[in-house]
Structure formats: C-alpha cells, structure tokens
Amino acid sequence: MPTPLIKVEKLKKQFENEEFVTKILHGLDFEINKGEFVSIMGPSGSGKSTLMHILGFLDKLTTGKFIFEGQDVSELEDDQLAEMRSKKIGFVFQSFNLLNRASALENVMLPLLYTNMSKEARIKRATELLDSVGLGHRLHHSPNKLSGGEKQRVAIARALVNNPEVIFADEPTGNLDSKSGLQVMKILQDLNEDGNTIILVTHEKYTAEHAKRIIKIVDGLIVDDHEVGKRQWANTNGELTK
C-alpha cells in the first residue's frame, strides 16, 4: 500500500477572537493519494475553503494531524509553510489573481522568483507551460488584454510552474462562461491524466463531477466521500462529452 500524499486525522479548525470562538471544521479524517483528482464539495460556509487553505499550507489547523508525503506537517512555522507552498503546491483561484501590470509570461514566472532558478530557466519553463495551455502566442500580453478563460489558463500555467505535488483549484470556473469553464476543466482533467494530483474546491455538483472522487462537506463535517460513477468530460472546444 503506497503512502498517501495527504492524510488528515481528526482535523479541527476554529477561529477565535476576544468575544467569539467560531468552529469551522469538526474533526475530519481522510486520505488523498498521489495522482487523484478529488473534488471537495459543499455549500457556502461549509468549511471547504478553510480545508483547502490548511491542505495548501496557507493556514494552520487548530488540533489534529496533517501528514504530507509521510511527514507530520501539523505544526510548521510561517517560513516553513511558505517553503512548502513554494515547492509543493500550486493554486488556481476563482478570481485568477493575476498581476495586471505584468505580462502573462511574468505572471507565470512569479512563483519561480522565490526559488533558486536562473532568469533564463524561468523564462524557458514559463514559456513551455503557456504553450501547453494554448497561450504561446499571448506571452507578452497583460492580463487586461486576455479573456476570462485565457486568464484562468495563465493561472493554471502559474500553478504548474514549480512542478507541484498538488494543484488546488478554488472554484476555477466560478468567474467564467460555461464554454471557458469547460475548457479549464478539460485542462485540469488532462493534467490529472498526466499524473498530477488535483484538488478542486467547488459548490457545484456538476463541476465537482469532473473529478474522480468527491468529498462532500457540510457544516465542517464530511458527509459523503465517494468515487464519481459518471464523470463529466469536457473537450478542448468547451463542449461536454459523456
């Protein structure tokens, strides 16, 4: 049995201030293996984004255990978390989070700024990735001049640039029309086919069904965890195929 890429045990998260304690996650247990495509699905306020932040090393858990590649990473310091994000994680956000003053190429190169890679190597790597998402002809365009779908493809290229162990996609189709959304899902599915581990966070059942497995969260608890029987498949034209 291979070591799971991600394993959480009794994971709890609560936010505290002087007046209130808000409990978000109430003790989650699950594993995700390398190469999986998992959707974390739940309604607004269910705690799915908080879970993604913890799994993506953006936030710390309150109690429980988080094991990544066999190592207990529950109590890492801020700089260690930053290093994990730099080396192991790629993020795709709903609102793209691209720097408007930088070109598509510079946006994709951004995560490599915090590694020890030479500028030439960074340009080469970012160019290859923009090529692979079909934006080889848009390298020097600023995000303002790109469509929503193109922006999200730049964001996917940026998430891939440091060869991450896991790609987190937080509502990646939320700001896109259905055609562009399907094109983005197609890229994520292709990446998974190539062996990348993808964790998709969404509130839409239909989007979640592009993954192989769905973990459903309601009110901070896992209420369902199942393989997807009938997956949704998208093609490069942004059309559904069954």
């Binding site: 700089d79 930053a82 730099s86 956000f93 989070n97 720097l99 003053r101 951004l110 440091n162």
Partner: protein, 424 residues
C-alpha cells in the same frame, strides 16, 4: 552548495529582481513616482546647494580677508574680550589711539615689523567743476603702498613730508578717477573736498573688492590732512603693521602691546585700551563662525528631507493597501515574509535614491549657476562641490528610504495571505 551560500545567492538574486521590478513600477506611473520623490529631490537639492553655496560664501569671506594680507597685525582703539570685537568695530568712537603711537611702534617695536601704516576715514562729496562724487576718503601714511602691497598706476603716492605736513594732495581710486575725469588726465588737476582744494598727484592700481570694501571707490589723502582739515580729530581709527614672517606675529603682537601699554600709562592688571589682532586670529574666528552658519543652514535644509521621508512613508503605506491582493498572491506562491519586506524596502529605497540622484544633479546645477552669477558680479567666489556632499546626499536618501520604508514593508509582510488574496 551550503545552505548559507544558497541563501546568500537567493537573497542577492532577490535584490536584483526587486530593483528591476521597482524600476518597472516607477516607470509605469511616472507622474506619481515623481511626486512621491519630490520631497527627497527638494531636500537633497537644498542640502547640496546650502553646502556648496555655504562653502562658496565662506571662501569669498576668507579670500577677502586673505587678500588684505595674512601677515598683517592690526591695532584698533578700545578694549575687547578675548574673542569679541573691540568697541570701535561696533561703531563707537574711541579716541585712545594716536598718530604718535604708530610712530613709536615703528621706532621701538621688534625688528620683525617691516612697515606700518595708519588710517582715518570719512565720507565726503568731491567736486570737480560741476561733477560731484560721493565717496570715502582715507587718510593714511606714505607707507600705505608697502603695507597694503599695492601701487599707483599714474603719478605718485604722497611722501612722508606730505604725510606730516598737512599737504593738500590726493591720490584717486580707479573708480573715482573714472567718474570725475573719464578719459582726461587727472594728474595736476584740482578737486575740492569739503571746500578745500586738493591737487591730484596719482591714481591707484585697480584692486576690486577687498576686506569688504570697494578699494577703487575711495581717495587717499595724507593722514594729517584728513585729521586736521577734513575730520577735525587727532586720533587714528586703525594702525596696521606688516610683519616679515608669519612665525614672528606673536612677537610683534607682544612688543606692540608693551609699547602701547607703556605709552598709555596702563598699570599692571589694568585692561588694555586698545586691541591688537593678527589676521590669522581673525581668520580662525571667522572660519568657526561661517562653519557654524553652514552647519545651521544644512540642519534647516535637512528638515525638508525628513518631511520628504514622511511623504515616502505615506505613499508606501497607500501602496501596500493598494497592492494587498498582490502581496497575498506572492505569499500564496511561496514568498516568505522576509522577501516581502525586502521587496517593499527596495521599492522605497529605489524611489528615494532616484530622488536623491535627481536632487544632487539639480543641486549641482544650481550651485554652478550661483557661482557663475557671483563671479559675473565680480566676487572671488569659488565653486565648491565636495565629493562628501554628494556622498552625503546619496547616503541620506538611501537612509530615508530604509527608515521610512520599514513600517510599510513590515505592514505588508504581516498581511494575512488568505485575507489579502480576497482583497478587491
């Protein structure tokens, strides 16, 4: 590669990338960047100008003094504190110094006194037919030329006999000659000073401004003539002695003091009723005054730099606010807090350094302009731009970037990545 070496490598690469990126940010919004750095530009420019103009003015003042001669010792009537000026300088008439005091110093003083002259002066209108010129008349001795190291260009200066014999002869300064006679030959002509006829016997060499006085806008008459016919006094305003070598100045001062105390009948412990000052002492005192003045002006100019620094901090804080989402993104893709601090610090340093460079260039240009104008107006103004002031300007601007950039940079680094990512 060791961990430490890799870290150094990463940091240096980070700094270069950050400088490039800061430059791009600055050049993208030129007007805003210029306004941001305006405080620093004005501050650094003011410091450079004040240092340069201050040094120029100092050199002008010291040159003026030196042009009179640094191996001269002056005696002024009236007592004075160690460092303070004698009363006569402050415009109080003191009559303790007499013509015979000067003669006695020359006769009995140390051998190091090469020559000695005395002065009285006043202002009077000089008439030549219908032409009137208001000017200074100086009553002095025949040895004036030797002590002041000057000469006549036409005619002659008056003799010792004329000096003592109340002779009605006059030597004209170059400007007075020009005003009264134009192209005509003045020698042998008669002019009137205070209703008394004087015979013009010579014209002085052109000397320009020296010792804070326009040496060409005056006329010279024998001291006895000035005392008796023009002023009605029997004291002198100043005695000036020329000493052979600078190292003998102390001896000269001592011997002059002894002679004068003896002549004035001063008892032991009684205060001098005159003041003996060497030019070197005067130079020292003046240097320290002008240094203090320069320091004071630089301190005033530095206030502009501090104000500029707060301007930078204000803009950088707004910048952090505006770029919250970018900071969140950078953190999400792996930037440690130290990288964010470095990035924002470098941005503020690049802005202030650039402001400093522009300020230095403008400061130098304005200093050159001031020097040129002063030189054009006939002052012996040295253009002084020291490497130190340029270094100070650049150093201070970088320092301000670091000091006033640290608060915004730390604020940026402490932003919560998740909240920052959501910031619209």
């Amino acid at each position: 590669m060791g961990k430490y070496e890799r870290r150094v490598d990463e940091v240096s690469m980070n700094i270069i990338e950050n400088i490039t990126s800061s430059w791009e940010i600055i050049s993208r919004s030129k007007a805003r960047s210029f306004l941001t750095m305006l405080g620093i530009i004005i501050g650094v420019m003011a410091v450079i100008i004040v240092m340069s103009v201050g040094a120029g003015a100092q050199s002008l003042i010291l040159n003026q003094i030196k042009s009179v001669g640094s191996n001269l010792v002056g005696v002024l009537p009236g007592s004075s504190e160690e460092d303070g000026p004698p009363a006569s300088v402050l415009g109080i008439v003191v009559t303790t110094l007499k013509y015979d005091d000067g003669r006695a110093i020359l006769k009995k003083g140390c051998d190091c006194i090469e020559s000695l002259t005395m002065y009285v002066s006043g202002n009077e209108t000089i008439n030549l037919d219908d032409t009137n010129v208001n000017t200074t008349f100086t009553g002095t001795t025949a040895s004036y030329l030797d002590v002041e190291d000057t000469n006549v260009v036409e005619g002659r200066f008056f003799s010792e006999d004329e000096e003592r014999g109340v002779a009605r002869v006059v030597v004209l300064g170059d400007e007075v000659r020009e005003k009264l006679f134009g192209d005509q030959d003045p020698i042998g002509r008669r002019i009137r000073i205070k209703k008394t006829n004087f015979s013009v016997i010579g014209v002085m060499k052109k000397r320009g401004i020296s010792g804070f006085q326009n040496q060409d806008d005056q006329v010279f008459v024998p001291i006895s003539t000035a005392q008796k016919l023009l002023l009605g006094i029997n004291h002198v305003n100043m005695i000036r002695a020329k000493i052979d070598f600078p190292e003998n100045i102390d001896n000269a001062v001592e011997s002059m003091e002894n002679i004068l105390r003896d002549r004035h009948g001063l008892d032991f412990g009684e205060e001098n009723d005159f003041t003996v000052r060497s030019m070197a002492q005067g130079l020292d005192a003046l240097s320290s005054i002008t240094d203090a003045l320069k320091f004071f002006l630089v301190a005033i100019a530095s206030i502009a730099l501090v104000v500029g620094g707060f301007g930078i901090m204000n803009i950088m804080l707004a910048n952090v606010q505006e770029r919250t989402s970018e900071i969140g993104l950078r953190k999400a893709v792996g930037a440690k807090s130290s990288y964010i601090v470095t990035q924002f610090l470098i941005e503020s340093v690049v802005i202030t350094f650039l402001g400093g460079v522009i300020g230095i260039v403008l400061g130098i240009l304005i200093s050159i302009l001031v020097a040129k104008i002063a030189q054009f107006m006939g002052y012996k103004w040295d253009l002084v731009i020291t490497f130190g002031s340029i270094l100070l300007g650049s150093g201070v601007s970088i320092g301000i970037g670091l000091i006033f950039g640290i608060i915004p940079a730390r604020r940026a680094s402490k932003l919560n990545a998740i909240e920052a990512l959501r910031y619209e």
